[in-house]
């Protein structure tokens, strides 16, 4: 706990606004994520979930406001941040094998002109072992299933040995076994004091997987411990009319939310 006081929060966002060609996507986001939390970022399509992550990663320009990572700018804290992009964001026909992809996670620590060493390869192999993909180390990435691709991405993130992770829909289109494997690893990382922010699509599992939720719909609807945040009122605010399509009974059963 002492660490929490000595060190700045892993992620602090103040009054962040982001716009794509004058059309605002995120408005006035204020946020402070405590160390060691596993945060699910939840919201409808077009709520700006991916944009929020991309903005923090410096991939989308900030309109106004600021973002601090461990009290520093993203550029200065870069080696402490790991990123798992959406699986579809890369060309899986690319001429590399599984181990090559995981080794990329080590590049940030190597710096210019240095090549991955034996140690880096050992770490990469150990990360593959963790996601149960080591038998596939020499396999061309085109010959992997969706779940296997996601595990390779996760292994790469592990190889980055970061303190703060951003993951964009790691559960999208994966099989049940992979989903369990991923959530186990996320839990383990959290228990080791890492901070994780995960974009998530599925409401029923969101409640189960994450200890904190960030409900987003262009504005920050709510952020805090899952038990406090996961209320019908907050979900209605986040999803607007879209949630009312479900009957109250179905909402109660599927989401475990008490409907008044």
């Amino acid at each position: 706990m002492i660490d929490d006081y000595r060190e700045a929060a892993p992620l602090e966002i103040h009054d962040l606004t982001v716009a794509y060609q004058k059309k605002p996507v995120l408005y006035g986001i204020d946020l402070e994520v405590p160390k060691g939390s596993l945060v699910g970022i939840v919201g409808p399509n077009g709520a700006g979930k991916s944009t929020l992550i991309k903005t923090i990663m410096g991939l989308v320009p900030i309109g106004s406001g600021w973002i601090k990572i461990f009290g520093k700018s993203f550029k200065k804290a870069i080696t402490r941040v790991g990123y798992v992009p959406q699986r579809e964001s890369v060309d899986w026909d690319f001429p590399v094998n599984v181990l090559d992809v995981v080794l990329m996670g080590r590049y940030g620590r190597l710096g210019l002109l240095k090549k991955p060493s034996k140690d880096d390869k050992d770490i990469a192999m150990a990360c593959l072992e963790k996601v149960k993909m080591s038998p596939y180390a020499n396999r061309q990435i085109a010959n992997l299933s969706g779940g296997q691709q996601q595990r390779v991405f996760l292994a790469r993130a592990l190889a980055q040995e970061s303190d703060l992770y951003f993951m964009d829909e790691p559960f999208a289109g994966v099989d049940a076994a992979t989903e369990t494997a991923i959530i186990e690893i996320l839990q383990e990382l959290k228990n080791r004091g890492k901070t994780l922010l995960v974009v998530h699509h599925d409401l029923p599992t969101a409640k189960q997987y994450f200890d904190r939720l960030l409900l987003l719909n262009m504005r920050l609807v709510a952020f805090g411990p899952t038990e406090e945040i996961f209320t019908m009122e907050n979900l209605q605010k986040t999803y607007g009319g879209r949630l009312t399509i479900l009957s109250d009974v179905a909402v109660e059963r599927n989401l475990g939310v008490k409907v008044d």
Partner: protein, 315 residues
């Protein structure tokens, strides 16, 4: 009837003479072809992986106004001036292409067409306007003739004759390209595969993008004055595309590109002697034939193998 179109095949004339009596000429033509194919092919591997195959085509046309302007402004034909003109034109081309498709509804391929045809037209206007002062014409840039290489001025170092200047220059460019790929392999790999990750690793993706474009411009400009744009454009695509059908590991496709470069140049030279035709044209046709062969007959994923598999499965 057919004899009117295809010259007789004489083994001695086609295979022996070039390497005996004609050695002094043909060795330089072969080497020039190899270095051009190799430099273009190595850079081309990364251009293809970044889905920018047509940008090479665009840059090779856009260089014309850059070089012409460099001549006119400095009234010198020094290599430095040409290279500076070429790099600026090449970088401006890529910057404009990106800017147009990012800030308008025009798609990337249309943006490429808009930028390079405008640049090329400006180049043609400049050359025709200042024709008296500029010792350069559009034809020579587009259809440079590799067959004239043996007659070029020789480069010498410490009294040793190294060979025709364009060949020595191209060899230097090839070595620099190899060196750069070796030094920055991991950055080139990750920026080509996953820009998001590369950024998050603290790699300056813009630097590598424009650096690659600058190298591409240098490769194109050092090649095409002597061999013509057609060979350059072809070799940016063929070695990488053919190698990617054979192997799925980047280091291997890079090595295969070098091997293919030798084949294109060697077979191309002999084909050109036999048919008494354009050497650069013959090299490109050889590249096209080798690609077709690999595409059809590749034992692991060739078209014929695939057709056989589907037939087996449907039976």
């Amino acid at each position: 009837m057919i004899e009117n179109f295809i010259p007789p095949f004489n083994f001695n004339d086609i295979f022996i003479e070039p390497w005996t009596y004609g050695f002094e000429s043909y060795i330089w033509i072969f080497l020039m072809g190899f270095f051009v194919n190799a430099a273009c092919g190595l850079v081309g591997n990364f251009i293809i992986l970044r889905r920018m195959a047509l940008v090479g085509d665009a840059i090779s046309h856009s260089l014309l106004p850059g070089i012409a302007l460099a001549f006119i402004l400095s009234s010198s034909r020094s290599t430095t001036v040409i290279v500076i003109g070429a790099i600026s034109a090449g970088l401006l081309t890529t910057i404009f292409i990106e800017y147009i498709y990012k800030t308008s509804r025009v798609k990337a391929d249309a943006a490429i067409g808009i930028v390079f045809s405008t640049f090329f037209a400006i180049g043609v206007i400049l050359i025709t306007m200042y024709a008296d002062h500029v010792d350069l014409d559009a034809d020579c840039v587009l259809y440079g003739e590799i067959g004239f290489i043996p007659f070029d001025e020789r480069a010498s170092f410490a009294g040793i004759n190294l060979g025709p200047i364009p060949v020595v220059r191209m060899a230097g460019v090839t070595i620099v390209v190899l060196l750069l790929i070796n030094l920055f392999y991991k950055e080139l790999l990750v920026t080509s595969f996953d820009v998001g990750l590369a950024n998050s690793l603290g790699i300056n993706t813009n630097l590598f993008h424009y650096g690659l474009m600058a190298v591409l411009s240098v490769v194109i400009v050092s090649a095409f004055e002597s061999v013509g744009a057609i060979l350059v454009i072809a070799m940016l695509i063929f070695p990488g595309a053919t190698a990617s059908l054979i192997s799925h590991r980047l280091p291997i496709t890079l090595g295969l590109s070098l091997f293919l470069s030798i084949l294109y140049s060697l077979i191309g030279v002999h084909l050109a002697i036999w048919l008494n035709c354009s050497i650069a044209g013959a090299m490109v046709v050889v590249a096209g034939l080798i690609f077709t062969g690999v595409w059809l007959f590749n034992p692991t994923n060739g078209l014929i193998k695939k057709m056989g598999l589907t037939r087996k499965l449907t039976k």
